[in-house]
Symmetry: C2
Subunit: 336 residues, 2 copies
């Protein structure tokens, strides 16, 4: 790493984040479980467990479609779900800024309760720290989660995408990031952009029923669809080719992105899942997603090819191919 | 709760912290596992697991005897150990302030690695967020941990203290809180006060070997020995009586506390364990602790009585009894 100081970009989920993880955290912590760099770690402990953690620092803490509490529960549930694990317990650790109102905290905690009920998981342990005014920004929440893996099938993993597989996306992209951004900057569009923040274990259950042999699942959060596809291509050593016209984007979101010069492929989602499945299962998985409340606009967006390994190609609406890279900079800080 | 806003005291581990937990978090999240309010939650998932989380916001991030990284690993290892669980996996989530130096972060992460090696546990998953300058104070770390419980014995629990039990403390109190405080305020004493920050699973293993039927274990962190004894007395519905002269305090720490008007019984420890054991096992447990590198100054500090239930009594050096209450205010903010 050439940098001496932490930049906002180190938290943006793009190339600088990857540098930080590999250059610093893996340098010290390296072990086979962590090195897999899944969104959840897989642990052998009697039964097979998935274990995940995420800190949430979204600003503002309330936004159309959710709040930091709902986000904290959904983000962790979705990381477990991506590993094919049923969430069995969550923890919640709060860092509160002195002066936060109880009314706001109550609203956040109530929203966590509601999201965890929908995901059928309990918050079983927690912690609270308070720091002086100015030492944090209102509230930060770190949730960790434990999930139980089925013994009956090989769990989906980021290194299992194979040439010939279909790439399926559960719905529209960029809703979450643009909703938070619009709220924070006070930008008004024709209609309000709403975050897609949702707990996806139910959707994932339907996908696993339709295709027990799903190769990869991943929720495209920070860095957007582009970052997630690049991670999967790199870890599986394959090329992923997706079609621009196949990727659903809400019209308001598309307009907002164009106005602000932001590529929706780089914008975070909090209620979407990518599934990479054997081609023969693709139609069944698509149908299963579309039958679920959070997958109504699912699409087969592309396929896995053998080479060039580690690359993502975007077939544009005009029919040309371009390389879709991981965003390197910091497009939208503090969207999760 | 009568308060409208979060105060520093809500994070101090005393009465206001308890109000926040019961009045707000339990109101929303109530479930049998969380309601037990152990430092770890016990989960049934194939085998029995303990699950715990803590955020660390200590200021300064480096102090004599440790740093925020060592503290984050030890704190979580010790919460699992108190539940009688062998730590099997840790997660680490970082909230970094833009501008933090890589050199500092590297030092912190290296220290986490060292502490986790000593505790024989791996950090298997993590997360990093970066917030703009002024939105956090350098670095906050949230660690969560999973521990495996033995199937062969009833695990120690905060509600198992019984009349007649002996109360054993593994060493001197108030070292950690006073070390951090002195460093932060730039106060110099005759010699440097050093934090006791240490991973205690090894010590706990020796205690469990000496007394498989240990009733309670708890590491007296925020709120100090006073807060922890009060929690145990309340949850077990017993009276705990301890002798002031039996509680070891390093001379420098005692002088510093006197100078600053702070009761060492209210000051956080990060490398001490309280064990409440059947009287017949007391000498064996004491010997086991004293044989361990982190228990050289262990003492039997008191005993459990039937009534008044929920109270802690301190037998003073003069022979009188006084009620030892949970600290209500905020004595030392951001010591962990």
């Amino acid at each position: 790493m050439n940098d001496d100081f932490i930049l906002l970009a180190h938290g943006a989920g793009g190339k600088k984040s990857a540098d930080l993880i590999r250059g610093l955290f893996l340098k010290h912590f390296a072990n086979p479980t962590l090195n897999a760099l899944g969104d959840s770690a897989l642990i052998e402990g009697g039964s097979r467990l998935a274990f995940t953690t995420d800190s949430f620092v979204v600003d503002p803490i309330f936004f159309p479609g959710g709040d930091i509490g709902k986000l904290a529960v959904c983000g962790t549930v979705n990381d477990l779900a991506s590993a094919g694990a049923k969430p069995i317990a969550l923890s919640a650790a709060f860092i509160l800024e002195e002066g936060l109102s109880f009314a706001d905290l109550d609203r956040i905690v109530a929203s966590m309760k509601q999201a965890s009920e929908e995901a059928d998981v309990s918050i079983v342990t927690g912690d609270t720290k308070v720091v002086a005014r100015g030492s944090a920004d209102r509230v930060f929440i770190t949730t960790s989660g434990i999930g139980l893996l089925s013994d009956e099938r090989e769990p989906p993993a980021p290194n299992r995408a194979s040439p010939g597989d279909a790439v399926i996306l559960s719905g529209t992209i960029a809703d979450h990031g643009m909703a938070v951004m619009a709220q924070r900057e006070g930008i008004r569009f024709a209609s309000e952009i709403t975050s897609d923040c949702a707990p996806l274990y139910g959707l994932v259950g339907c996908v696993l029923e339709a295709s027990p042999n799903v190769h990869c699942m991943r929720d495209p959060t920070r860095g957007g669809l582009a970052a997630t596809l690049n991670e999967l291509a790199a870890q599986s050593g394959v090329c992923i080719e997706v079609g621009e016209s196949e990727i659903p984007v809400n019209e308001d979101v598309r307009v907002a992105c164009e106005l602000l010069g932001i590529d929706p492929l780089h914008v975070a989602n909090e209620g979407k899942m990518i599934a990479i499945v054997p081609a023969d299962d693709a139609e069944d998985v698509l149908a299963a997603m579309r039958n679920h409340r959070y997958g109504g606009r699912a699409q087969i967006i592309g396929e896995v090819r053998e080479s060039p390994a580690g690359r993502v190609h975007l077939r544009t609406a005009m029919g040309s191919l371009r390389i879709l890279d991981t965003p390197s900079g910091d497009i939208l800080p503090r969207i999760c």
